[in-house]
């Protein structure tokens, strides 16, 4: 049984959308109700930087892949054993 790799990419993009939705609300709470202190801003800015870095590194590796290929489910165990 084969599944086009692009299905996983589509699922991943949906996941990213959900991730950004939750990130937005967390950042919204932090900026609206977060008390003014250095640590609050340091953690918030660190979160934005680390997230941007993770998305950039992910993009770097994902962009190198040929997404027209298929994923063979029943062959998954073969390279392991």
């Amino acid at each position: 049984m084969e599944i086009p790799l692009s299905v996983f990419l589509f699922g991943y993009l949906v996941y990213i959308a959900v991730f950004l939705f939750f990130s937005f609300f967390n950042l919204f709470h932090m900026t609206k109700y977060g008390f003014t202190s250095f640590w609050a801003w340091a953690v918030t800015v660190s979160y934005i930087i680390v997230t941007a870095l993770a998305l950039f590194v992910s993009y770097y590796y994902i962009a190198q892949i040929d997404w027209t290929q298929s994923f063979k489910i029943f062959d998954v165990a073969q390279p392991i054993y």
Binding site: L5, Y15, F22, N26, H29, Y33, V43, F71
Partner: protein, 184 residues
């Protein structure tokens, strides 16, 4: 925005006496859990690269890349969401009242307040090995309203905080009685 000196609906002669958040051990727990989760993909990657040929197949490598990326994004979000939950839970004790601000998940926020004169029973509870060593615990404050009570969760120096609030309540009640007698 709130600060240690100012908060919404502050009365003219009201000033903050205690501004409490949970103990730093909660932040440590969040960092430790986040770091613990973050190690997993690295261990699996080392295992797959050294003992199997799984990542030699481009399709499987693509699948692994997506899964690792999704997992790391989840770990980053988990850490930050927990920090937001920690940071936005605040208990403020002023010379007139106690304000309880709690972030309950992403879409619920609860703010309750009661005057010091309405506090009835103040109890502190330090339970467990780490709580005893690091000196943190819960403070339960029963108000005059039927079922309502405030819970200061995992705050540092719980015993001392309970004692100070108890003193404040006594002083507040004495002061109010004096004012009432003066008015007569």
């Amino acid at each position: 925005m709130y600060s240690r000196r100012n908060f919404p609906n502050q009365k003219p002669n009201e000033h903050v006496l205690m501004f409490l958040r949970r103990h730093w051990v909660v932040v440590f727990r969040i960092i430790a859990m986040t770091a613990f989760f973050a190690i997993f993909p690295a261990i699996i990657y080392v295992g797959l690269i050294n003992y199997t040929g799984f990542l030699d197949v481009e399709a499987y490598r693509a699948f692994f890349t997506i899964m690792v990326s999704a997992f790391y994004l989840f770990v980053i979000l988990y850490g930050f969401a927990n920090f937001v939950d920690y940071y936005l839970d605040v208990w403020i004790v002023t010379n007139e009242r106690i304000i309880n601000i709690e972030q309950k998940g992403l879409f619920a926020r609860e703010i309750s307040e009661k005057e010091l004169g309405q506090m009835q029973d103040i109890t502190s509870d330090v339970d467990g090995f780490w709580a005893t060593i690091l000196n943190y615990g819960n403070v339960y404050i029963q108000t005059a309203a039927e079922k309502e009570r405030f819970i200061f969760k995992e705050i540092p120096f719980a015993d001392e905080v309970a004692r100070r609030i108890s003193n404040l309540v006594s002083e507040y009640q004495k002061l109010n009685k004096t004012i009432e007698i003066d008015k007569m």
